[in-house]
Symmetry: C2
Subunit: 287 residues, 2 copies
Amino acid sequence: MALDSERWFSEPFSEEGVAFSLEVTGKLHAEQTPYQYIEVYQTTHWGRLLVIDGCVMLTSRDNFTYHEMMAHPVLFTHPDPRNVLIIGGGDCGMLQEVLRHPGVERCVQVDIDEGVTRASERFFPELCRANDDPRAELLFQDGVQYIQDLPAGSVDVVIVDSTDPVGPAEGLFGEAFFRDVYRAVADDGLIVQQSESPILHVDTILKDLHTAMRGAGFSRVATLQYPVCSYPSGWWSATMASKGADLTQFREADAVSKPFKTQYYNAAIHRGALAVPEFCRHLLTDQ
Amino acid sequence: MALDSERWFSEPFSEEGVAFSLEVTGKLHAEQTPYQYIEVYQTTHWGRLLVIDGCVMLTSRDNFTYHEMMAHPVLFTHPDPRNVLIIGGGDCGMLQEVLRHPGVERCVQVDIDEGVTRASERFFPELCRANDDPRAELLFQDGVQYIQDLPAGSVDVVIVDSTDPVGPAEGLFGEAFFRDVYRAVADDGLIVQQSESPILHVDTILKDLHTAMRGAGFSRVATLQYPVCSYPSGWWSATMASKGADLTQFREADAVSKPFKTQYYNAAIHRGALAVPEFCRHLLTDQ
C-alpha cells in the first residue's frame, strides 16, 4: 500500500532502498537556518519528531537508546571524566545524560546551529532540563575550529553527536578532525562518535571511521551496537577510541551503582553492546 | 515525501503508527493458500522479500539475525540437543540453522502451510539447503495438534518460529499451547518463541508470553534481544523457557568452537543478547 504523505512522514534512504515512516498528525515547526532545514512533527505514537534536512534526528519515544548509549559507555570507560566536550548535540539530550554523572565538573556543547537548540527547548523540553546546570556551557560555533583552539590535553571525553557524514557534519568523520581531538584530549582521554548502521555501513562509514581514528593516533578503537528504531535499519552504533586504554574494560561497579536512572543502559547492556557480530569482525585489529 | 506504491513495498504497523518500506522492482509471486496470502518481491538492495498477509517475513539480506538468534542460543543452552522440533518455520531457514549442529539427530519442521515452503524452495533456495538432509522431516499440519500427539518427554528443544500472534499463529502464544510443550519436552528440554519487539510489546505480548510460559509450568524464562531490520521497530526478541535450567548459562566453549560459520551469532553476541534493558527489568522475576 502507498503511504499518504499527509498522514505519514517518510524518510527514504535511497542508497539502500529502505524507508522509515511515522504517522503524524501535524507539522509543528519548519525553519531554514543558515545551516539546515529543521522540522518538528507531532506523531500519533512516538511523541514529537525532530527532522533535519529530511532525516529523522529523534523522537520523544525512542531517543533514549541513542543518548544513553552514546553518553554512558564512554563515561564509564574513562577512569574519572571531569571535562566533557560534546560536538554537535544541539538538541541537548546528550548534555543531559552527561550531566547525570556527578563527577563531571564541566560539559561544553558546541553545535554550529543555534536553531536546533532553540527548537529543542521549545518542542523537546524534556531533553533540555540540564541546560541551566551551572556545569553546562552551550556554544554555537564550528566544533572543528573549537577543538583546534583548545589547549592540548585539556579534555577528558569528546562525544561527537553529529548528523550523518554529509553536509555540515562531513568534517567530523575525517582523520584531520581526529588528529585535532587526539591533541585536545588528555593521555587517558576518550572520544566517541556516532557511527551509523552496522548492517548498512560496516564496509564504508564504519571501516573508514576505524581507519581515520587509528590514522590520527588512537591505538584502540571499539564499536558498540544498540537499537535506534527511528534510524535507517533500526540498528545503530557508537565507536570509541583511546590512546591505549582497553575499551572493553569499564568501571562496572560504578555502572551497577550509578546514582541516576536510565531506560536502556545498564552494566550488562554496556558489556553486551561491545559484542562484535561475526560480519563485523574484520573491523577489529587489536582485540 | 510520499512513497509511491509502485516503487515501494510498505508495511504500516498502524497500532504503533510506524511503517517500514523496501524499494522493489517487481512482484515475483502472489498466492492465496488455504491459510494465508503469500507474496514475493524483488527489492533493489535487500534481495528478495517474502510477505505473508501483508507482513514482512524475511528478506534475503537480513534474515540471518533472526534465524541465527532463534536457533543457536537455545541449542547452545541445552546440554545435548538431539531431537528438535520447529513449529512454523515454513521458509526452512530455521531448519537449516538447526542442522548446522552436528549433534542434532532429527529436526521435524511442522508448518500448517505447505505453500510457504514451496515458495521458499523456489524463491529462497539459499534457505532450503538442508531440506534434503536425512535428519530433516518436513510436515505440513497443525503444530498445536502435532505437539499434543507427541509422547511425553520426547523432544529436547522446541523452536516456535511463528508469524505474529494474530491469525493462524494466535494459538502459539497461549498458556494451553505451552502446557502441551511442557509435556512434550524432556526434563532438560527448552522452548524458544519469537517474541516480537521489546520497545513495542514489552507490556503486552512479551509480558503475556512470560506469564503464559510460567503458568504452563516453565520455571525459568529469559528474553534475548537482537536486531531485525525488516520487522517493526527493527528491534526484536526471542523468549526461552526451561523447567529449571538456568537460561543465562550456556555451552560457551562449544559456541566459541562451533564447527560452522555464522554471520551474526557468536558466544559474545549470545551473552550480550541476554542483557536486559532497564525498561524490561520488570519482566524478570527469577534472575
